[in-house]
Amino acid sequence: MTETILTLYCPLIFLIAINSGLLGSFVLWKKYSNMSESISHFSVLGATISFLFSYNMNLMIFITSVIYVALLYMMRKRFSSDTLVALFANIGLALALVLSAFFNKVRVDFMSLLFGDILLANQNDLISLSITTFIILVVTIFNWKKIILTILNADLAKSKSINTSLIDFFIITSIVAYITIAVKIIGAILLSSMLILPAATASMVTSNPKRMVLLSMVLSLLSQITGMLVSLLHDLSTSGSIALCSFVIFCVLGIFATLKTSLSRQ
């Protein structure tokens, strides 16, 4: 068990922290909170299909998520993004439930899909997440200024010959790829709060985007470690405990930031 913790779970939570910090910041800046939540909900459909037809789970989740994002993209001119997300957010979940009812012989564990279970993770997930994280980090580091300028103002970025469509594609693909791997570990319901909370907390106490990303990585790691310890000590849900720890850190640093701002105004 100790060996599994050291060789599988520790690297996994470290990689989840890196992705949560970076992609969570992108999600906040691009106002993708609702969309990332709906992608994670929709990914349950992919997982269900993989259970029912014995396909590779990661591949199925990725395919359904990509189809979902493409659907949103095609319909974006007709409806506002908020309307689209509200329209489709839980359709994936509903479809998954209906599909599973048709196949009585196969049991789909919806509880672990919705609320996650780190014990479901295996070496393949670690390898997939390591490769995904490496690619995301390398692309981000080499294009940091272009990415930030595109997020700030796409027109200004385009006027500097930056391919903003490619950068948007990179951001959304990274989010989909991360959700694909992390959904069974963290759970569809809690995934987006674990993306957003550390980044939102870091934004209150940092002065530049780079520091915000780094601090959200640290906060994500901190909330995962404390959440896991709390869940082990009191036999609670791991993902739930991690999300609650993130929220406690958000409240504490939020109060600290508010006090600091009001003191500096006096």
Binding site: L28, W29, K31, W144, K145, I148, L149, I151, L152, N153, D155, L156, K158, S159, K160, S161, A199, A200, S203, T206, S207, N208, P209, R211, M212
Partner: protein, 239 residues
Amino acid sequence: MNILEISHLKHLNEDQVILENINLKIERGKIFSIIGPNGSGKSTIAKIICEIIKPTSGKIKKKRSLKIGYVPQQFHIDKFMPISAEYFFNINGLTKSDYLPLISKFRLAKKMHRNLSQLSGGELQRILLVNAFASNPDLLVLDEPTQYLDIDGQIELYKIIEEYANLHKTAVLIISHDLHMVMKSSDHVICLNRHICCEGSAADVQVNEDFNKLFGNQLLSLVVPYQHHHNHKHGQEND
């Protein structure tokens, strides 16, 4: 000397004509203004020149390695984005030696480390102007640069633009709806309403029939003196 030439430019958006038959020559060191009502295609021209959007048809000939400084019409900073002016200039590829001489001119010395989301509209606009000026461009494209500035700020900005254009022989293209300021400061005024209605020096344009048709009401409001109508009594305490 022309640094940019546009000929027979047409732009459609989902079959709707946004611009047609646009011919424009931009000369070095001159201030050009594009005026026109809402939806007349002013910002679209600016975006086509800055290669933000591709026109449906037409030719655009640019001087080789033409450097353009652009101030977009809309610039909103999200509260979750912690970014200072210094960091903003840095991601735009500017060094301290590029922007520091302009900081005091635009009264921004005390705002350099503040979060951009905490600045007023006018302060943010001045930061965008510094960003465009500091790259030492051949052509400055300013889309509604005075929209958040008060009257003093507007006068000051046009003075700086004139000085800058003269000193660096930079061409300036201003998109504006503020006739009063534009008429005073431009070498060449282009009156746009999906096509070029009229163009020329401010004096020529002002007597043009098409110009008066488009801006008749605004011109009238400029000459009618402001009258303060009292429908209330001034109390001694509140006066």
